[in-house]
């Protein structure tokens, strides 16, 4: 399917406060879609609608539909959705367990019991996240002993272990140093060959470096979306141009 995720007239509310206004967007497969915009514009809310993490907030509700492979996300089993659409958070949040256990956790909760299978998948995922070489000799050490950049790659490996089709990244490198950031960006360029990726970032240069499509949010509205190269050189909407040229934000 060329556009596995289709968002139709999505509005989001925290109690009475509206956070997103009729967002309409199609996410293309096996590519990186960047979501940019100033603070508080609703980027995080938007991305957390996709894997229903906002369900954890008691006062949250949506209007509109999100269709994943043609099926309404909000009518499907949420644990299944979250397995198929993985998430990596802004601040790396590995579990306070061993490196091996972090990656294996997803498999265990989805019922995989075979030890060999688990070990194999752990290795594969860590390789896909470009972390295997650095940790292969210390899989039983605590994940908290890794550096920030390594922890984030571990979180990526952890998400990959359950074989998702899509990855959601919420400002994945804003808490990481520049060198580690570069490695993760390189990793993303590699991953997009096989996964559909949606990435929130406040760093426009990063969006320009990594993404194929970009969407610009302002105050809960999706102002404009298009191929990244076009968005950054010749945007259609004046507001987009103002943001990109730094007139605000």
């Amino acid at each position: 399917m060329a556009f596995p995720l289709q968002i139709r007239a999505l509005s989001a509310f925290y109690g009475r406060k509206q956070s997103l206004y009729r967002v309409q967007m199609d996410i293309a497969e096996k590519s990186v879609t960047a979501v940019i915009g100033p603070s508080g514009c609703g980027k995080s809310t938007f991305i957390r609608c996709i894997n229903r993490m906002n369900d954890l907030v008691p006062t949250f509700r949506i209007e509109g539909t999100l269709l994943y492979h043609g099926v309404d996300i909000y009518q499907s089993d949420v644990t299944d959705i979250r397995r198929r659409i993985g998430m990596v958070f802004q601040k790396p949040n590995p579990f306070p367990k061993s490196i091996h256990e972090n990656v294996a956790y997803g498999l265990r909760i989805h019922g995989v019991k075979n030890k060999k299978e688990i070990d194999q998948t752990v290795e594969t995922s860590l390789k896909k996240a470009a972390l295997w070489e650095e940790v292969k000799d210390r899989l039983s050490q605590s994940a908290l002993s890794l550096s920030g950049g390594q922890q984030q790659r571990l979180c990526i490996a952890r998400a990959l272990a359950v074989e998702p089709e899509m990855l959601l990244l919420d400002e994945p490198t804003s808490a990481i140093d520049p060198i580690a950031t570069a490695r993760i960006e390189e990793l993303l360029r590699e991953l997009k060959k096989n996964y559909t990726i949606v990435m929130v970032t406040h760093n426009m240069q990063q969006a320009a470096r990594v993404s194929d499509t970009t969407g610009f949010f302002l105050m809960g509205e999706l102002v404009e979306t298009g191929p990244t190269s076009q968005m950054f050189t010749n945007p259609s909407d004046q507001r987009t141009e103002d943001y990109i040229t730094g007139r605000f934000g």
């Binding site: 008691p58 998430m87 949040n93 590995p94 306070p96 997803g106 909760i109 908290l144 922890q151």
Partner: protein
Amino acid sequence: MSSSGDLPKPRLDPMHAKTLRRHILPRLKDRLFAMVGLSATLLSLLVLAVLFMDVLGDGLSRLNWQFITSYPSRKPDQAGILAAWVGTGWLMGLTGLIALPIAIAAALYMEEYAKKNILTDFIEITVANLAGVPSIIYGLLGLGLFVRWMNLGRSLLAGAMTLSLLVIPAVILSSREALRAVPNSIREASYAMGASQWQTVRYQVFPAATPGILTGIILAMSRAIGETAPLMAIGALTYVGFLPGRGLFSRFPINFDCLLEPFSTLPIQIFNWVSRPQKAFSVNAAAGILVLFLITFMMNGMAVYLRYRHQKRSRWS
């Protein structure tokens, strides 16, 4: 350094009344308070030391193998704490078995599952109040409910159930704190991978909170060991010439009759001796107190050590 006029020097004449009041007196008061504060804080330490030395002086001589392995007696030099500490052990074991599962389950619910509504607020206030109820009131409840209404008599089981009522609120409070200390990012990461709520609680939150929960349990149990009042209220006997828990395995597979028999505990035995006028019994009491101290401090030490190790290990990055 600019040469164009330095700032005029302030007039700080120590003998000048204004200087004294504005600059010197406040600083003096501050210093004075520091000393007073240190003394106040050390006063507690001093009292503790005096207390301990006194008990040590009175009781150490009596502490010997015979003391630990004898039953109580009318003759002070023959009396011992055997039935008492065995009773304490049995009582604690039973209490733990009854109280801990209920308390931890309640804490898990309150912290992870409860929605914000009137019922949960009510439960929260109830638990907070129960933690402050005088322990002897629990004894009255035990007397009326377990000893009389349920006809358990003045038995080990009634005692354990009564002490459980005391232990449950305290363990709920400390367990909730331990659960609260687990960062939310762990829960989020777990949910984002498709885990259900119970999977998240069971495989991530609870293991992460275990050291804290354990610390709270040890502290609550060590307080319960020293409890006298509620057991007195339900009528725990002070002369017990047999071992509590005897005959547990006399029938196949387990004979629970022993749970319905009277019992004694270390604090109760100590109290009994303290109430006697003869000086020799006072010596026995002191020796018993030393044993009680040993148990209590060992448990508290374990809890502190656990807490220390947990704080060192969990750098939540």
